[in-house]
C-alpha cells in the first residue's frame, strides 16, 4: 500500500527536478539558448536573401523571348513578393519582443535591410521587363555615348 511518505518522496523529487530550471543561471541560459536559436534562424533567412541578390543581377542581363519565359518572370516576381511579405511579418513579430529585439539586433537589422533591398530589386525587375515605357529617348543618349 502506498504511504504518504512514498508520495512525499515522489513529489519532492518532481519539485527538485523543476527547481533546476528556476535558478537564475538556468533562466539566463534558457534565454540565451533561445536567442541563439532565433538568431541562427534569422541568419538562415538572411543567407537566402544574400544568395538571391546576385541571381537578380544576373536576371537583369536576360531577355524575355517567349511566353514561357514571360510567365517564368511573372512567377519570380510573385514568389519573391510573397517571400518579402512573409519575412516582413516575421520581422514585425520578432521585433515586438524586447528580449528578441535587443538580443538579435544585428540579425534583425540585416533582415530589415535585406527586405528593403529585395523590394528595390523587384521594382527594378518590374521596370526592366514589365513596364511599357518609351525607351527611345534613353537609347538615343546611350548610342551617343557608345
Amino acid at each position: 500500500m502506498t504511504t504518504v511518505l512514498d508520495i512525499e518522496k515522489k513529489i519532492l523529487d518532481c519539485k527538485t527536478k523543476g527547481e533546476v530550471y528556476l535558478t537564475e543561471e538556468e533562466k539566463t541560459n534558457l534565454i540565451l539558448d533561445s536567442i541563439n536559436a532565433i538568431t541562427k534562424n534569422i541568419n538562415n533567412v538572411n543567407s537566402c536573401y544574400l544568395m538571391l541578390f546576385p541571381l537578380l543581377d544576373e536576371l537583369s542581363s536576360c531577355e524575355v523571348n517567349n511566353d514561357k519565359e514571360f510567365n517564368a518572370l511573372k512567377e519570380i516576381i510573385l514568389e519573391l513578393s510573397k517571400f518579402t511579405t512573409r519575412t516582413s511579418i516575421l520581422f514585425s513579430n520578432l521585433s515586438k519582443s524586447n528580449i528578441i529585439k535587443n538580443g538579435c539586433k544585428s540579425a534583425l537589422n540585416d533582415l530589415r535591410a535585406n527586405i528593403r533591398t529585395l523590394r528595390e530589386y523587384l521594382e527594378d525587375v518590374e521596370e526592366t521587363f514589365l513596364l511599357e515605357d518609351d525607351e527611345a529617348d534613353i537609347d538615343t543618349v546611350l548610342s551617343e555615348l557608345i
Binding site: L56, S60, S61, A113, R116, D124, D133, I146
Partner: protein, 142 residues
Amino acid sequence: MDFFATNRFNESVNKLIAKKKHYGCALSHIYKRFHNKTDTELFDDGYKLNGNHPIARQMKVRVLSCGGNAKSEGFRLIVFVHKDDKKYYLLDIYPKTGPFNKSNMKKDERKLCLEELLAEKKNNTLFTITFDNKKKTIVLKN
C-alpha cells in the same frame, strides 16, 4: 579600367562624406568595391539597367554601409561602363539609410545622369578617379 566621375557624383559624394557619422566611409567602401577587380568583373557586376548590352551598360551597384553589419544596406552607385573603351564612369551615389536615404532612382533621373555624362565628356569636365592604395580610398581630381 580607367575610372571617371561626373560633377553630379562629385557633389553627391561630398554631400555624403560631410555627414561623417553616417557616411564618412563612403569613399573607402567604393575603393574596396572596385579595387583589384578585373575588367570582366567590373562589366558584369551589378544590376543592368539597360539589359545585356555587349559594349556599354548603365548599372546599379551596391556598396557596403558605414559601420553597420547589414550586407545589403549602404550605398547605391549608378554607373556607366564602356567595355571597349575600358572606361568606368560613376554617375551618382545615394545611401539607403540615414538622413539622406533614398529608396530608388527613377528612370528619368537615370537618363539625366547619362545626358550629363555625355555633356561632360564633350566638354572634358569629368573628374578622374585614382585609387590610393595606402589610404585605401578613392581620390577625385578635376
